[in-house]
């Protein structure tokens, strides 16, 4: 009997594993929102410059505490399915790893905000150790895998990118502490950021989407060109960018590679849009709207970046440095919240109820009457709540964009942020309650 080598459902981990990371991501999102509320109360947070430490603290709370947290949970789930290789872990490792990561992110954020060096150092150290071990485990398991499908290749590259991001993050920490005689070098910050965004987050999202978009949305498959070449183009672009950043007078090389990577993701975005347009069943779907809004926000991000580049080329004559800094913040909001977090929400809308359903169905065994009594996907993830989450999310993106210019909107953006993440947490709790109701005696193992 032949098996589809691209997917291996015999190695699915216990269902609680991804859920604990998804739940933690929602909770950390609430904490980020509280940070924004504190900012509105005058606690030294102003959206003036991307180099402001309190803002960098909040940024890491969101990118690590929410975005990376979801991705780690999803990776534990999808790596064995896509590559046939588990990321090795024991229950004790999971507890220590997650606790260390959560505490590290909180300490780092508070440390950056208050600039209390011990918090900053302990926080960064905890993040460094936890992510380095996770990335090393991921790289090890993926290089044992025989899978050659593009999604597996993309996963491999994103794990390597995570290792690079972690090592550069550790280097930045040493620089901040002026340890070993290292002085702070902003080119390292830029390399750290681009590897995190394009290599770790971007390629991982693309690799997972090569499987989940055709599967969950009943679309044609991604083109061979996109599947095979996107990770390669991004990898080459990142290496060239890094080389350019470390050389003197190679700004043109950095710009060229940065735009090469951006255009590769634009091509990917256009393909996502086209595939979703070719869905066989055109029912209302919150996940599809979120995917499409992610593409729109990415296009807007590219336009803002184009404006920023033009102004730099014109020697800052198009608009002042004040607006240049504001536009950089707008670009960050459009990319991270408008595009990346929209995709994360889109994937969660499908993955969370699907995993729960799969587990409940297996817990029923061959009892047909129990299987028929199971809640449907739309009961597990009610479309009304998804719709509210979607509108709140869009509102949040644009209120936050306006907050860069009108600081009086800080309070409103903080409130919307907290509500939208509380709603997400509530949706996950609803699924967990359904699981407890329909699979009450399960010990957490959904496979076999």
């Amino acid at each position: 009997m032949r098996r589809d080598p691209s997917l291996n459902f015999e190695e699915i981990p216990e269902w609680r594993l991804p859920f604990r990371f998804f739940m933690a991501a929602a909770c950390m999102g609430v904490v980020t929102g509280i940070g924004l509320l504190l900012g509105s109360a005058g606690f030294s947070l102003v959206l003036d410059s991307r180099w402001q430490l309190s803002l960098i603290g909040l940024l890491h709370l969101f990118t690590l505490g929410s975005i990376t947290m979801v991705m780690i949970g999803a990776l534990f789930q999808v790596t064995p399915v896509m590559t046939g290789e588990m990321i090795k872990r024991s229950p004790r490792f999971l507890w220590v790893f997650q606790a260390m990561f959560v505490v590290g992110v909180l300490l780092l954020a508070v440390g950056l905000w208050t600039y209390l060096a011990p918090l900053l150092i302990f926080g960064a150290l905890a993040i460094f150790l936890s992510l380095a071990v996770f990335a090393a485990k991921g790289v090890r398991s993926l290089f044992r895998s025989q899978a050659t499908k593009p999604s597996a290749q993309a996963l491999k590259f994103s794990f390597i990118a995570l290792l690079v991001v972690v090592v550069l993050g550790g280097t930045l920490l040493l620089m901040h502490g002026r340890l070993f005689g290292l002085a702070l070098d902003r080119s390292i910050t830029n390399i750290h950021m681009i590897w995190a965004l394009a290599g770790w987050v971007g390629v991982l999202i693309a690799g997972v989407s090569f499987q989940v978009i055709p599967m969950f949305h009943v679309t044609p498959e991604f083109s061979e060109l996109c599947q095979h070449h996107l990770p390669k183009v991004v990898a080459i672009g990142l290496l060239v960018y890094s080389a350019g950043a470390l050389m003197d007078g190679a700004g043109w090389l950095m710009s060229l590679s940065q735009w090469g990577v951006t255009l590769a993701f634009m091509v990917y975005g256009v393909e996502v849009w086209q595939l979703l347009q070719k869905r066989k069943r055109k029912l209302e779907d919150v996940s599809v709207s979120l995917w499409k809004s992610a593409v729109v926000h990415f296009v807007l991000f590219v336009l803002v970046m184009a404006g920023l580049t033009l102004n730099e080329m014109a020697g800052g004559n198009l608009w002042s440095g004040y607006w240049q800094e504001k536009l950089k913040l707008v670009a960050g909001i459009l990319l991270l919240l408008g595009s990346v977090w929209s995709i994360v929400l889109a994937m969660l809308q499908k993955i969370v109820p699907f995993l729960a359903y799969l587990h409940m169905q297996r817990a029923c065994g061959t009892d047909y009457s129990k299987i028929k009594a199971l809640p449907h996907m739309r009961e597990l993830m009610p479309i009304e709540r998804g719709r509210i989450l979607k509108y709140l999310h869009w509102l949040l993106v644009w209120v936050l964009v306006l907050t860069t210019v009108f600081p009086s909107l800080f309070l409103l953006s903080g409130i919307i942020w907290v509500i939208s993440f509380l709603l997400l947490a509530g949706m996950i709790v609803h699924v967990l309650r359904m699981l407890a109701l329909h699979a009450p005696y399960a010990n957490g193992s959904s496979a076999r």
């Binding site: 009997m1 032949r2 098996r3 589809d4 997917l7 291996n8 459902f9 015999e10 055709p214 599967m215 969950f216 949305h217 009943v218 498959e221 066989k280 069943r281 699907f354 359903y357 799969l358 169905q361 297996r362 065994g365 061959t366 047909y368 299987i371 996907m377 076999r448």
Partner: protein, 84 residues
């Protein structure tokens, strides 16, 4: 008389294909076998079908998976599928 029951789930979103397959397997009568047609190999279905007493055989034609499910104790169907 051996009869094929065809179930084409290529246009359905997960987990509907799995759901429909379990329905079809549950309702399969003596002398019948299920031909399950999907865009992906229904790997999660195999252990469930096995627990329900079914055997399966998979054929892949380009991007389409055709899986036959039958009860091995249904001798007539078993012989018929072996002869295919």
């Amino acid at each position: 008389m051996v009869q094929a029951v065809e179930l084409d789930v290529r246009d359905l979103e997960p987990p509907e294909p799995l759901d429909k397959a379990i329905d079809a397997l549950h309702n399969l009568q003596a002398g019948q076998y299920l031909v399950f047609i999907h865009r992906r190999e229904p790997v999660p279905l195999y252990p469930m079908a096995e627990e329900m007493g079914f055997r399966h055989r998979m054929e892949q034609v380009d991007a389409m998976f055709r899986v036959y499910f039958w009860r091995p104790m249904d001798k007539e169907v078993h012989q018929y599928l072996k002869s295919l």
